[in-house]
Amino acid sequence: MRADQICILDVLHQTMADGPGFRTAIYCAGCKHACKGCHNPQSWDMKNGHWVGVDELLEEILADEMSNVTFSGGDPMYQAPAFTLLAQLIKQYSNKTIWCWTGFTYEEILADETMSQMLPYIDVLVDGPFILEQRDTELLFRGSPNQRIIYLHGEPPEDIIPGTVKIEKPR
């Protein structure tokens, strides 16, 4: 796996369903969590995606002045080095916020040397696997209540979204 390319399914522009406000959503390919009831199982296999350079993605993201950024998939954590690079560049060239969806828990990511590299550049992490038995369509930005919306840095907004968790800056 290369650190300067990401295997993606699709890039959505100015979507309003992948976090607050307008967002450029990078949907990557590849996921091994195999959650029962996954709404997008074709995203599990990297063969369904195509490789795009991090620089190319960065350019696409920066071209949209209004939108913030969402990493989703698939699970971006399986391509952590490339996503880390992308996130780092986004922070270097803009003040866009980054929301990242993952099937790993925050604690699992913290404990992993590679995945945890990404955390300093992510603003909000939506973590944990989808549990079909707990499915609740009324939850905002989440499929099941075990998942958490974690503000990794700074204060969550005043109008707090249910399920939001504030966490100290990771070491």
Binding site: A17, D18, P20, G21
Partner: protein, 736 residues
């Protein structure tokens, strides 16, 4: 000697002997004895020598009958009478057929023309009967020949044609302060000036409900916050008096005290005057909230017009930065967020947030907190929409931040998009003015004709512009003719409207005609289907091709320029309109499909695209849509709207609404709003945003009500939509 004949449609033609002769011969033909040309000529001759100048067709036929009865050929008279009856029946049959569908409460495009009206109720049926009958009267008796032909040819559409004979005007922005300060007289009741918020809000309802029956369009309040703010203060003073009486302490010196913000707070720990003031504030906020609730409830339930229609009501607000004005804004927003009754989304009034830098938009603005709240409310309840006072064409140099009547220099809109602002014959303002009538041009048909007549692109475009100029001239002529008819109405025909509400009307006496004042209104020429028009001319619509966008702007700017010219020529306020065309969406298309067949991208759907919009089926980002549609707004002085279809559950994404307003700011867009799905279970009250929801996930009921927007208005159930609009809804896709 009879010189002329008055035909059934009112036209006068020269008397012609030969027509009588041939009608008699036709009747003779079907008798055993056959034709008798000498007798026929003798009867015609006798009639022509009658001592009158003109006769109606019916009179002539009566004479023919009498003469035949006096003649030896009485059997011809019988045939003649039978033939005459048959023709009369045929003439009526079409109307009867339409009446029958109304009686049977059938769902068709006649009974579904207006989604706000319930044509199945007795009052609704009565409206439809009248409406269908007047339409043919207008065609036959009120339109001039070339106009009638343009209508029959599907080139132009006269809006609210059923109201044409009543001489009614379309709509008005109510100067509500006049009603609140002077009281009003409506029906059998007379009201005194308002003294408290409850009365003020009820008078606002009555004003709109009464005037709606004197007009055929919507009713709006241009500065809801400014008008009601003084009554927040009066309510507060009333509460101070109550505290004084209750505590047996004179607190009257507190009445003029400055309140920073009317916010409810716990009284614990407060003593003396502080406690008295806070208590009065708390009571005031509760009363204002209830008054706003009552206002919204009233606007959604009182069927003040036939057809069980509520008022097409709109309210504009957001720029009053006084504590009292902010209290009104906050409580109308709170009420709207909570919903009416058991929490249903209120369909009326359409609410419009006036977005203005320095006042109600930027983080440092005094009403920024309320703007943010407005976005949150809009995410959940579709309203408020957003009116961009900062757009280049919406600004007014006369606006001064410290002018207590600065709202007179703020543009206001009708919720549906109708905009009245520029004025060649009086003050530039929206208040006390409105539209007089609308006529829409079918630019798609003109483009199809040009496409079929010319192969070469440039020649084709030239040809289109020639045809367009012809249609614009006809539309202007027609509006001018209607104006000449409207102006003959007397002031007394509009008891409230022309009693001070309409600009300048107070100076009229009861038997004066309204001619002197209606030049304050506007005559609007609209267009529909720019997208299809462009496909016919250059093969692509403006969302997908720069060439098409360039031509689109050329077409609409040309239209605006030509319409400005009409203002000079006819001495009326003409303006260019981005037609919403609720009832028109399918009408033009259906007929053009019959004439031209199914043309890909043009007549292959059941509707034409709304005004200068990008087609609803076209996939693009909100920003692309804004970038393409924005530049048209400055030409569309009679009204325009920008929509974004939102994906996901917008309820949770007020930031997205704020960014859509940012787009409006960036691309000089005048008026805009978001569309999203909102389902509500009528059994348990559960709400969500899922597409095509048929079963409630909570109570498993199937009584699901789906809200959507139609020409700016919300419609509680799509059951009342006409076929063109339903097809358009089906094709709508979200923008991302």
């Amino acid at each position: 000697m009879v010189k002329h004949v008055i035909k059934r449609d009112g036209r006068v033609v020269d008397f012609n002997n030969q027509k009588i002769v041939s009608a008699i011969l036709k009747a003779m033909d079907v008798t055993e004895a056959g034709e008798d040309i000498v007798l026929a000529a003798k009867i015609a001759d006798a009639i022509s020598k009658l001592d009158v100048d003109g006769m109606s067709v019916e009179d002539i036929q009566d004479c023919v009958e009498m003469e035949l009865m006096k003649s030896p050929r009485k059997e011809v008279a019988k045939k003649y009478i039978a033939y005459r009856n048959q023709r009369n029946l045929a003439r009526k049959a079409k109307t009867n057929e339409i009446f029958q569908t109304i009686i049977d409460a059938q769902a068709n495009d006649i009974t579904r023309e207006n989604a706000n009206m319930n044509a199945d109720t007795p009052a609704g049926m009565m409206m439809k009967f009248a409406s269908e009958a007047t339409k043919s009267y207008v065609d036959e008796c009120l339109l001039s020949n070339d106009v009638r032909e343009a209508v029959a040819g599907n080139y132009i559409h006269i809006h609210d044609k059923d109201y044409y004979p009543t001489k009614s005007l379309t709509c008005i922005q109510h100067p509500l302060d006049k009603i609140l300060e002077n009281g009003l007289r409506a029906g059998h009741g007379e009201s005194r000036p308002a003294k408290r918020i409850e009365t003020a809000s009820v008078l606002a309802c009555i004003s709109m409900e009464t005037v709606q029956n004197e007009m055929h369009g919507g009713q709006a309040i241009p500065a809801f916050d400014f008008y009601l703010a003084p009554f927040v203060r009066k309510t507060f003073e009333e509460e101070i008096d109550k505290v004084s009486a209750y505590t047996n302490t004179d607190y009257s010196d507190l009445k003029p005290i400055k309140i920073d913000d009317y916010i409810k707070r716990d009284l614990t720990g407060l003593q003396g005057k502080d406690r008295a003031v806070q208590h009065a504030v708390n009571q005031t906020v509760s009363r204002v909230h209830q008054a706003m609730e009552a206002f919204v409830h009233n606007m959604n339930t009182i069927h003040s017009r036939g057809g069980n229609q509520v008022v097409f009501s709109s309210i504009n607000y957001g720029t009053d930065t006084s504590a009292e004005g902010r209290c009104i804004i906050r409580e109308i927003l709170n009420t709207t967020y909570e919903g009416v009754g058991n929490g249903s989304t209120a369909i009326f009034p359409i609410q419009i947030w006036k977005k203005k830098k320095g006042v109600s938009y930027l983080p440092e603005d005094p009403n920024y907190d309320l703007y943010k709240f407005a976005c949150k409310v809009s995410a959940r309840r579709f309203f408020p929409n957003f009116l961009n006072l900062d757009a280049s064409y919406n600004q007014d140099d006369a606006w001064k931040a410290d002018d207590p009547r600065r709202f007179e220099h703020e543009v206001a809109t009708m919720g549906c998009r109708t905009r009245v602002y520029a004025n060649a014959f009086g003050p530039k303002t929206s208040i006390g003015r409105g539209n007089l009538s609308f006529t829409t041009i079918n630019i798609v048909k003109l483009a199809i004709e040009a496409m079929q007549e010319e192969q070469d692109k440039e020649t084709r475009i030239q040809k289109f512009f020639q045809k367009f100029d012809w249609a614009l001239d006809i539309a202007a002529k027609q509006l001018n003719e209607r104006f000449d008819f409207q102006k003959t109405a007397l002031k007394k025909q509009f008891p409230l409207l022309m009693n001070g509400l309409w600009l300048g009307s107070e100076k009229l006496s009861d038997n004066d005609s309204i001619e002197a004042v209606i030049n304050q209104g506007t005559l609007a020429i609209g267009f529909i289907g720019l997208a299809e028009c462009l496909i016919a001319l250059v093969g692509k619509h403006h969302g997908e091709s720069e060439e098409a966008q360039e031509l689109g702007l050329r077409i609409v700017s040309h239209m605006a320029e030509k319409i400005n010219g009409f203002t000079e020529i006819y001495k009326h306020n003409f303006s260019c309109f981005a037609t919403p065309a609720e009832g028109l969406a399918g009408k033009f298309t259906k007929r053009d499909k019959k004439t031209f067949g199914v043309l890909p991208g043009i007549t292959d759907k059941d509707y034409y695209t709304n005004s200068s919009h990008i087609p609803v089926y076209y996939h693009c980002t909100p920003e692309h849509k804004a970038k393409i549609e924005g530049p048209y707004h400055k030409y569309e002085g009679a009204g325009h709207i920008f929509y974004v279809e939102i994906d996901g559950d917008a309820t949770h994404n007020p930031e997205a609404i704020m960014q859509i307003v940012d787009l409006m700011d960036k691309y000089d867009i005048g008026y805009g709003s978001v569309n999203h799905n909102r389902n509500r279970c009528l059994d348990c009250g559960f709400e969500n945003a899922e597409k095509d929801l048929h079963e409630c996930p909570h109570c498993h009921g199937h009584n699901i009500d789906t809200l959507q927007r139609i020409t700016g208005y919300l419609v509680g159930t799509t059951n009342r939509w006409n076929s063109g609009k339903l097809a358009e809804l089906h094709d709508r896709i979200v923008h991302k």
